[in-house]
């Protein structure tokens, strides 16, 4: 009898954003958590100490944010700006602008560039070391077939998902044209794309609630033994951990009060930050308050299970 204790939602962070959470990310070096929100702010938390370490106000809703290092980060705002945030001095400067709200932002450690995707159907690369003048920081602008909805990078590969179910795979060393042009294998609008940490491919989710697992190299699909498990969060308020290898769900955490807007594992995978925040999927309507939960991740929850019963037939 292994009656598991009721899984808890984890510790709730105090001082959460006052409006929808657009994204949250753990730092690669500490348990610091960067959270962007529709309340026009980017907040920096110390997840292990449950303390708010900084707050940056923007001219519009912040749609995405990412860390540069532990002392600075970047944000993508609906006021078309891309900003650099310096935590220690509480300073922010505008790296550049798009022609429409900036939907997503990534920092590439491989190239030292900031990549932003916008609803103006372009991708822009920025050099954060450049001075505040845009012409000096902008590295390049790359047209996309549609409005950029989600981006993810691993190593030198960048996967861009846009409206119209387009997926472009770039090599950051040659951004002039996509390395691969693909169409989403899912039927509906792409919601999110995330690369596998081992760099063999990416997982892509649609508004319908499905997740597809794709590989950069088709030959790798066959020997797909080398990727681990991943977590998904949905508008149903559930966070599920999946074993993509066996197409099985490993674990379902307790239901969160409202839609799961964003998820992030800490650098060592011991913590999982969950943004429980209404994602506007059903328009403007009364909803639960926005909250950030940080829960510790048990190894058994994310480790692929061995086969329960050896199949007697084989």
């Amino acid at each position: 009898m292994t009656a598991a204790p009721p899984p808890s939602t984890g510790r709730e962070l105090s001082n959460p954003p006052t409006d929808g959470i657009s994204n949250l990310r753990f730092s690669n070096h500490s348990d610091h958590l960067l959270v962007s929100s529709w309340d026009k702010s980017v907040r920096l938390y110390d997840a292990s100490a449950n303390a708010l370490r900084g707050e940056f106000m923007h001219g519009g809703a912040v749609l995405d944010c990412c860390f540069h290092d532990d002392s600075s980060g970047f944000s993508a705002s609906a006021d078309h700006t891309v900003r650099r945030l310096v935590f220690n001095y509480n300073r922010e400067d505008i790296l550049g602008r798009h022609d429409a709200p900036v939907r997503c932002i990534e920092y590439s450690y491989a190239t030292g560039q900031v990549i932003t995707g916008s609803w103006d159907k372009t991708l822009k690369c920025w050099d954060p070391r450049g001075a505040s003048a845009q012409e000096r920081s902008l590295v390049g602008t790359y047209a996309q077939p549609e409005r950029v909805y989600s981006m993810s990078l691993v190593g030198n590969r960048l996967v861009v998902a846009t409206a119209g179910r387009h997926v472009n795979v770039y090599d950051l060393r040659n951004m002039s044209q996509p390395e691969q042009r693909r169409e989403s294998s899912l039927k509906y609008q792409t919601r999110c794309v995330r690369c596998y940490p081992n760099g063999t491919g990416y997982a892509l989710s649609s508004v319908e609630g499905r997740v597809a697992m794709e590989f950069f190299d088709l030959s790798e699909a066959g020997q797909s033994k080398n990727y681990g498990t991943f977590a998904t969060g949905g508008c149903d308020g559930y966070v599920n951990v999946w074993d993509g290898n066996n197409k099985k769900r490993l674990y379902q955490y307790a239901k969160y009060p409202t839609s799961v807007a964003a998820l992030s594992f800490s650098r060592d995978g011991r913590l999982l930050a969950v943004a429980s925040s209404y994602t506007y999927e059903e328009g403007d309507k009364p909803h639960e308050p926005d909250a950030i939960f940080v829960r510790s991740v048990n190894e058994v929850e994310v480790k692929p299970k061995p086969k329960m019963l050896p199949n007697p037939a084989t």
Partner: protein
């Protein structure tokens, strides 16, 4: 000297003088000589002296004896006194004593007497105490454990102090005895309760330790040995008790678990309430008699094993039920349970006890949920399959009915059959569209799920394909018949022209039959295609992105599937067409090619071209229309239908036309039936079909993209949640620009 004695002496003196006088007289008479006389007198005097001496000696001896006696008495007195630890009562006053020896002796004797008495009393006391001590010691130390050497009383020490000592010892011993007795009683009490709880015979247990303990009355043995034995016995019983208690508590917990698991009725639980209420009791809390007896534990054990058996059987039942459920679901959804045999083996394993039933249950449950999920995804298609099958039944019924020459004979219930035929015809007309949508849905499903859609183990697409082929054959058969009839009709007309008469009923029949049969073929295709048309013509402005996406992708999937199919089933298609060719050996080549075309399900016309006997580019039209045209020239209605057919069939067959249509309507499926360039299947098409011109494809993809872009301008633009929330609207001018880029 008393007077009597002196008197006696004086008398004696008198007698002696008188005797001497008498002797002198005698002697004087006798005349004894003086010498004699003197000798006689000496003799007499000597004898007399002797007598005196003897008496003095006697007296002297007597005095010595007396003195001895006194001394003895005094010594004895002193000894007794010293033995009794008392100061001598009588202080010897012999020095000052004035009394005679005899008086002295007389005085001392009663004292001795008294002292002796006292001594013997004291001695008795000692003996008594010692005896008691001994007896207690005997009781305490097991007999033989204590040597009987101290029983004799030491005559020399009869002092009170010693007695006191002995008394103290005795008291201590008595106390100890008391304590021991109490201890024994305590032990016995515990033993008794233990025995009652454990269901053992107390008296027997006690007697085994010591016979005296088993008796309810009488003194108990309190020896060290017994107490030790008692203690070990208790220890042993306690161990047994603990062990049994543990056992019982284990049993109780499994009982509770089983009750909980199986919702055992309370009445059944009530019997074992006293077992379960003790589940957390400590050792001394269990006091109820027979609570831990072997019988009782066996009883509970039996109950537990009964429940466990029940549980096992229930589990087995559950497993069987689940299996039945799984099979039921599979049957309902026309799935073939994938690993039925593995489940059977697992169930056998459960029955043999090799595998835990819950494990298997879980597995089956997993399978059920999987099957359910699959069933859910299949539901839509299955419903359509059911409808299709029902329609097929109706179709075959209708055929049967049509073959009946007397079907219009008015009889009982004829109107009902007529009605049914009416309905059946309507249904049959819908059949091709039904098959079409079913095919597209199925292929979409297969694309989405990556597996074949099977119906009772048979791939649904192949069933549909078979059906289409069968239908085609039937249609051709009908056409042939119609041709014949027409020929006959012509003959008849000629005949009529010659002879001016023709059998009207025959004519009537052929006229009737013609349209009806064609209705099955052309009409059906018309329906199907017009349905496709209506799909395309869905009003654009209020199209929701997902709903719109569905038909689009479906078409896309279909086309993909078609391509894949054409590849996958290429061998099969060729084979089956070959077979069909054999079957329909009598049919014209045209028909054969038509069959193949249907088997391929509208591939590129370029592929068909070489097989088609008609050299026209508009091959698809030619196949259908030409024949029909030939046949149905007379019927305007039919002609209309065929034109419709040709018109509508183009989107599926001729790419060029399709594009023109998009130009006109802008409502063509977004992903037009062109293979995705990267899909390997398309690459193999030119390999398989060497005649298919590869450039054609690339040529067609470009306008398609253009059409797509153009379409997306006019179409309602999809927006993400964030865009909607931010109120973001894609500006039109920029879009056009982007398109131009």
């Amino acid at each position: 000297m008393s007077t009597a004695q002196s008197n006696l002496l004086s008398q004696m003196e008198t007698t002696c003088g008188s005797l001497l006088h008498e002797l002198q007289i005698i002697w004087d008479e006798v005349g004894e000589s003086d010498v004699e006389k003197d000798r006689m007198l000496l003799e007499l005097e000597q004898e007399c002296l002797e007598v005196y001496r003897r008496k003095v000696d006697q007296a002297n001896r007597c005095r010595a004896q007396l003195r001895q006696a006194i001394a003895d008495a005094e010594a004895e007195l002193a000894a007794i006194c010293s033995a009794m630890g008392e100061r001598p009562v009588h202080i010897r006053q012999s020095d000052q004593s004035t009394g005679s020896l005899k008086a002295e002796l007389r005085a001392i004797l009663p004292q001795i007497e008294e002292m002796r008495k006292r001594r013997s009393e004291r001695k008795n006391q000692f003996i008594e105490v010692k005896k008691e001590i001994e007896s207690i010691k005997n009781e305490i130390y097991s007999p033989g454990g204590y040597a009987l050497n101290d029983t004799a009383v030491d005559e020399n020490d009869l002092s009170l102090r010693y007695l006191e000592e002995l008394n103290r010892e005795l008291q201590a011993l008595q106390k100890e005895k008391c304590e021991r007795l109490q201890q024994v009683m305590e032990h016995l009490n515990y033993l008794c309760s233990c025995c009652s709880v454990l269901g053992l015979d107390f008296e027997q247990t006690a007697s085994e330790i010591h016979p005296s303990l088993g008796e309810s009355e009488g003194s108990k043995n309190i020896s060290n040995d017994t107490i030790e034995k008692l203690r070990t016995a208790i220890q042993k019983l306690r161990e047994v008790k603990m062990q049994r208690m543990q056992q019982l508590q284990d049993l109780a917990s499994s009982l509770l678990e089983l009750w909980n698991l199986m919702d055992t009725p309370v009445e059944e639980q009530q019997i074992f309430q006293k077992v379960t209420c003790n589940i957390a009791a400590s050792e001394d809390e269990i006091t109820e008699p027979d609570m831990l007896s072997a019988d009782f534990i066996n009883y509970v054990k039996a109950e537990v094993s009964r429940l466990e058996e029940l549980k096992a059987s229930k589990m087995k039942e559950l497993v069987m039920k689940k299996k039945a459920e799984l099979e039921d679901i599979c049957r309902k959804t026309h799935l073939i349970p994938e690993s039925n045999s593995s489940i059977d083996i697992a169930i056998n394993a459960v029955e043999s006890g090799a595998v835990d039933a819950s494990c298997v249950l879980e597995q089956i449950e997993l399978q059920i949920s999987r099957v359910k999920e699959e069933a859910l995804s299949r539901k839509d298609i299955l419903e359509k399959v059911e409808k299709w099958m029902a329609a097929c039944d109706e179709e075959s019924w209708l055929e049967e009915y049509n073959r009946d020459d007397n079907r219009y004979n008015a009889g009982r219930g004829a109107h009902l059959t007529l009605k049914r035929a009416e309905k059946a015809r309507a249904l049959v007309n819908k059949l091709p569209s039904m098959v079409d949508t079913l095919t597209s849905k199925t292929s979409a499903w297969e694309n989405e799920n990556g597996v074949h859609f099977t119906y009772d183990g048979v791939r649904l697409l192949s069933m549909l394909e078979d059906y289409i082929v069968l239908r085609q054959e039937k249609e051709l058969e009908r056409k042939r018949q119609r041709d014949q009839k027409k020929l006959q009709g012509q003959l008849l007309t000629e005949h009529e022209a010659l002879y001016g008469s023709k059998p009207s009923p025959m004519k009537n029949q052929s006229a009737k039959k013609g349209p009806r049969l064609s209705c099955g073929g052309a009409g059906a295709s018309n329906r199907r295609l017009s349905l496709g048309g209506s799909m395309l013509q869905t009003p654009k402005p209020d199209m929701h992105p997902p709903t719109k996406a569905t038909p689009n992708t479906r078409n896309a999937k279909k086309s993909e599937r078609l391509n894949q199919d054409s590849l996958r089933d290429d061998g099969f298609a060729a084979l089956s067409s070959g077979r069909r060719g054999l079957d329909l050996a009598g049919l014209p080549v045209q028909q054969h090619s038509l069959n193949l075309q249907f088997a391929r399900e509208m591939e590129s016309p370029m592929m068909r071209k070489p097989f088609s006997p008609i050299s026209s580019t508009d091959s698809s039209r030619s196949n259908v229309t030409n024949i029909l045209d030939d046949l149905n020239k007379k019927h305007n209605e039919m002609l209309h239908k065929t034109t419709l057919t040709s018109n509508n069939s183009t989107p599926f067959t001729t790419p060029s036309k399709m594009i023109s249509m998009t130009d006109v309507e802008n409502r063509t499926p977004q992903a037009t039936p062109f293979p995705v360039p990267s899909t390997p299947s398309t690459v193999s098409i030119p390999m398989q079909m060497a005649l298919t011109p590869a450039p054609k494809q690339t040529a067609t993809t470009v306008p398609m993209q253009l059409a797509n872009a153009r379409k997306s301008v006019d179409e309602e633009i999809e927006y993400s949640f964030e865009e909607r929330r931010a109120g973001f609207v894609v500006p039109r001018s920029r879009l056009v620009n982007a398109m131009q880029v």
